[in-house]
């Protein structure tokens, strides 16, 4: 797919928790194989928006999304959520490895989606760990518990786990907020390297991170997408005053 194609087209997305509306008419287009960052102050709706893209909100009662989200021209909100989540992966704010071995963590997504083990499975696990830049560190301890790893390693494990099922889109919800600067740097490097295989959308609290890593940036405020453009433009010459205020630290 050419790099300028639209992977996800969001039109007029509203989101409600019960009677309370938290997203208002969000319109944006995520381009294929690019890194898109979503920034904004706490509670602005960026995480909520991210979670509509893999319909994770469906675990919460009374949460509903309205509007249109097209995933390669398919209606994302009507698809089978299980099938959707095989194609759109997610990495969470705090590393959440399963209480299983490192190998079993990576293999989980594959097994759940029908893989039957054997040499092919081992290959895929290794490939995922290499992609996540974790292979060299854990190749001799694949059968140890995932909890034996450090926080940064656990997060890379979760990225490897998500990559194992070859998602077209990878959603990252503040993936470095629980990590120290060195671990963060490693993960940012990793994100760069994944770019040509995968469309990445990353929610971050850290504007410098967005500036370092992302091709496109969207600024959310109070449930609305205020501005969305190439990262350079957002940070150097933002069109809206609210964006400028946030970037320069005047609030939030």
């Amino acid at each position: 797919m050419a790099a300028d194609d639209v992977k996800l087209r969001v039109s007029g997305l509203d989101f409600y928790y019960g009677p309370k509306q938290t997203l208002f008419g969000v319109n944006l287009q995520i381009l294929t194989n690019r890194i898109t960052a979503l920034i904004g102050p706490s509670g602005c709706g960026k995480s909520t928006f991210l979670r509509t893209l893999n319909r994770m909100y469906e675990t919460v009662p009374h949460a509903r999304a309205e509007g249109e989200v097209l995933f390669d021209n398919e209606d994302l909100l009507a698809m089978d959520p299980v099938a959707l989540r095989r194609r759109v992966g997610m990495v969470f704010q705090r590393p959440n490895p399963f209480p299983k071995s490192i190998f079993d963590n990576i293999a989980y997504g594959l097994r759940v989606n029908g893989s039957h083990g054997g040499a092919a499975l081992k290959e895929k696990v290794e490939k995922s760990l290499r992609r996540a830049a974790l292979w060299d560190e854990v190749k001799d301890q694949l059968h140890k518990s995932a909890y034996a790893l450090s926080g940064g390693q656990q997060q890379r494990l979760c990225i490897a786990r998500a990559l194992a099922v070859d998602p077209e889109v990878l959603l990252l919800d503040e993936p470095c907020s629980a990590l120290d600067p060195i671990a963060t740097a490693k993960i940012e490097e990793l994100l760069y390297s994944l770019q040509d295989q995968c469309t990445l959308i990353i929610v971050t609290h850290n504007m410098q991170q967005a500036a370092r890593v992302a091709d496109f940036t969207g600024f959310f405020l109070l449930g609305k997408l205020i501005e969305y453009n190439k990262t350079e433009i957002i940070f150097k010459t933002p069109a809206k005053k609210e964006t400028e205020d946030y970037i320069t630290g005047r609030f939030g």
Partner: protein, 280 residues
């Protein structure tokens, strides 16, 4: 003023000493019970006791092998019935339910737990013994099994609730369906708590006597199959204890010791394994 303060200090010291005494007395009772059982039961516990059948009334000697086996069969039947239903019910309450229905189920489970076990025995009697017109192991197993369900439901639910939401989300995000998430991630993560709950459940019903008195009844011989009345450890303790024979009294102590040991070991092991569990 000074006198009043001295008095208040005295009251403080005195009342707290009294409460400490209350706590000590309660704790002391347990050790007293244990000690007495070991003292009296230990001397009557023998290999013959564990492997022989009871001798005819009035004759000395004999053992309670049939009661031990009978209790085993009853617990097996009760667990086969009560644990799967209780476990799956707990899964429902923790993973699927809404607000009103789970509340009603939880509340009713707690109420059912508080129903005297002898009433459960009557229930099993009306359902099994009355139509079949005779006592049976099956009836006893059913009575105990029904008692196990509410406990299993609550303990499973509580164990599953300790699994953090992010673990479930991690599995869902990889494309697992809800039941697969539950079966391959949530339940394994909670397995210690679930197993502990089951062990405590079994220990709890293993000591129940009243519901067996007119379901499984008793038997001085082996009870093959599931259709005949069977001896059981708690019922034997009762029967022998109220009898006029000294020899039977000794055997009652021995049986009591065996029963109490099993129950306490299960409880201590279960409680220690849960408290020693580290949070991830």
């Amino acid at each position: 003023m000074l006198w009043r303060n001295t008095w208040r200090k005295f009251v403080n010291y005195f009342m707290f000493s009294m409460t400490g005494l209350c706590a000590l007395v309660t704790v002391g009772v347990l050790f007293f019970i244990l000690g007495y059982l070991v003292w009296n039961g230990g001397s009557s516990l023998s290999w013959a006791f564990l492997t022989h059948l009871p001798t005819p009334v009035g004759e000395s000697g004999g053992g309670m092998a049939n009661a031990i086996v009978g209790s085993g069969k009853l617990l097996l039947l009760a667990s086969a019935f009560g644990i799967p239903i209780g476990f799956l019910g707990g899964v429902y309450l923790a993973e699927f339910g809404g607000r009103a229905f789970p509340f009603v189920v939880r509340y009713t489970a707690d109420l059912l737990n508080g129903v005297p076990s002898i009433v459960m025995g009557i229930f099993a009697w009306t359902i099994v013994v009355l139509p079949m017109k005779h006592f049976s192991t099956f009836a006893g197993g059913l009575a105990l099994g029904v008692m196990m369900i509410p406990i299993a439901v609550r303990s499973t639910e509580e164990a599953l609730r300790t699994v953090p939401l992010v673990l479930r989300e991690g599995a869902l995000a990889l494309g697992a369906s809800k039941w697969k998430t539950i079966a391959t991630v949530v339940v394994p993560a909670a397995r210690k708590g679930i197993v502990t709950g089951i062990i405590l459940d079994i220990a709890r019903v293993s000591g129940e006597t009243a519901p067996l008195l007119f379901t499984a009844f008793s038997n001085r011989f082996w009870s093959p199959g599931w259709n005949q009345p069977t001896a059981s450890l708690p019922v034997m303790v009762y029967t022998y204890a109220i009898s006029p024979y000294d020899d039977w009294h000794k055997q009652a102590w021995a049986a009591g010791l065996v029963l109490l040991t099993l129950v306490l070991v299960a409880n201590v092991a279960a409680k220690l394994s849960v408290s020693g569990r580290s949070a991830h």
